[in-house]
């Protein structure tokens, strides 16, 4: 499960924050400053609502699109145990997408509208899922590094000011804890295996390392929405701080695993008490975000196809529900049966 730092702008036009009610707005800001939770029916400034809808739906889309690169290996997982684990994990991503769509819907936008925004390219999802998964080790690396980065991004969101989002994130983080572990376990097993298996792991780490660092979003000085997001309690820790924390944690784990992180500039800086690492190629990041990554078209096409091919199913289920309701209405007798709650 995967959020990328969600201040990547969408193409959606956002209305200028013309606050009609300055007083309500001041009260709202004060509530946020006191660390209070905002609930669905509370008054909120339009830009707060827009920012949340954008962020939560991007996050939901990331979960759903994120099912594809891993789902790619469901039929080919090399043991029944790994197949079972992977299916449970990919299913979790679906569940997480569902929780998040539901949280976004509390803000007054329907799931179908959110999905339409994804399918038309107006809404974004995490750039990480536009990379291919050519080997089994990719499944392990997605768990270890991609989920690891996502968890680092998500834990602070459990304290997000918007109640429905915070509650969804708490549930997600709790379920997520097995995802990173199974990834590490998968890689650890491969690293104890044959030379070919070990090479598979190193190759996957080489391919994923830089895209994973990009998941934390652009450097702080280039993050357009950061300031208001912090004020409103939607964002709590900056992109660069989270990225640094991630690198410091992973260096140790990589050593245990016996893999090399593909950055000659990566070294401990005693003065900073943190690892230095080489500059990130943000050109690649923006290319992928803007639709020119290795798999953008495939991923979106798969989602659109699933939705379009399922239209007759969704429609038929509604038609049947309507028929049933009409039949029941026609069959209503005066002595209506009353049922007590279970």
């Amino acid at each position: 499960m995967y959020t990328q730092s969600m201040d990547v702008p969408s193409d959606e036009v956002s209305a200028s924050p013309a606050l009609s009610d300055a007083e309500a707005s001041a009260t709202f800001d004060a509530r946020c400053a006191r660390g209070e939770f905002i609930e669905a029916k509370d008054w909120m400034p339009a830009p707060y609502r827009q920012t949340l809808v954008r962020q939560i739906s991007q996050h939901a889309h990331s979960e759903i699109v994120g099912m594809l690169p891993e789902g790619n290996w469901l039929t080919r997982a090399p043991s029944l145990k790994r197949k079972t684990i992977l299916l449970a994990k990919v299913q979790d991503e679906g569940g997480h997408g569902l929780y998040l769509y539901a949280a976004a819907e509390t803000l007054g936008t329907s799931r179908d509208d959110l999905i339409a925004a994804l399918h038309s390219g107006r809404a974004k999802y995490s750039s990480i899922f536009n990379y291919p998964t050519p080997t089994w080790a990719d499944i392990g690396v997605i768990g270890w590094l991609v989920d690891g980065a996502a968890i680092m991004n998500q834990v602070p969101l459990c304290r997000c000011s918007y109640g429905p989002y915070a509650r969804a994130m708490i549930r997600i983080c709790r379920e997520e804890s097995f995802h990173q572990r199974q990834g590490f376990d998968l890689l650890h097993t491969l690293m104890q295996g044959t030379a070919a298996q070990q090479a598979m792991v190193q190759d996957a780490v080489n391919r994923w390392w830089w895209p994973v660092l990009m998941m934390f979003g652009p450097p702080d000085q280039d993050s357009p929405h950061a300031e208001t997001s912090v004020k409103w309690g939607i964002k709590r820790i900056s992109n660069d701080d989270l990225r640094q924390k991630f690198v410091d944690a992973i260096v140790e784990q990589a050593a245990v695993l016996g893999v090399t992180l593909p950055d000659p500039g990566l070294k401990w800086n005693a003065a900073r008490g943190a690892h230095d690492f080489s500059p990130i190629d943000w050109t690649e990041f923006w290319q992928v975000v803007n639709g020119h990554g290795p798999c953008n078209r495939e991923r979106l096409a798969a989602r659109v196809a699933a939705y379009d091919e399922g239209a007759w199913v969704r429609e038929a289920a509604l038609a049947y529900a309507d028929k049933q309701a009409a039949r029941q209405a026609a069959a209503v007798t005066p002595a209506t049966e009353r049922r007590s709650p279970p």
């Binding site: 609930e39 029916k41 449970a88 569940g95 569902l98 969704r314 509604l318």
Partner: protein
Amino acid sequence: MTNQRDWPLWEVFIRSRAGLDHKHCGSVHAPDATLALQAARDVYTRRQEGVSIWVVRADQIVASDPADKAALFDPMADKIYRHPTFYALPDEVNHL
């Protein structure tokens, strides 16, 4: 596709074990009550989180208005005599 109706939204309440209340835990989309219950089971009890499920059409829930919060709830703030701690008892009195 554009003229299609969404499947309705259902709120899901789960009793995590016997003896506890049902508690709101999320929502699902479903065309009818049967599938709403099944979806709630499939989505929200994957890790043995429940022993009983309620689903309620979201559009059937009547909720208080946050704007009425002061009128509805603030008047209880001074009814401190409803709480046992309001009453000072002699030290010798126990189990009361």
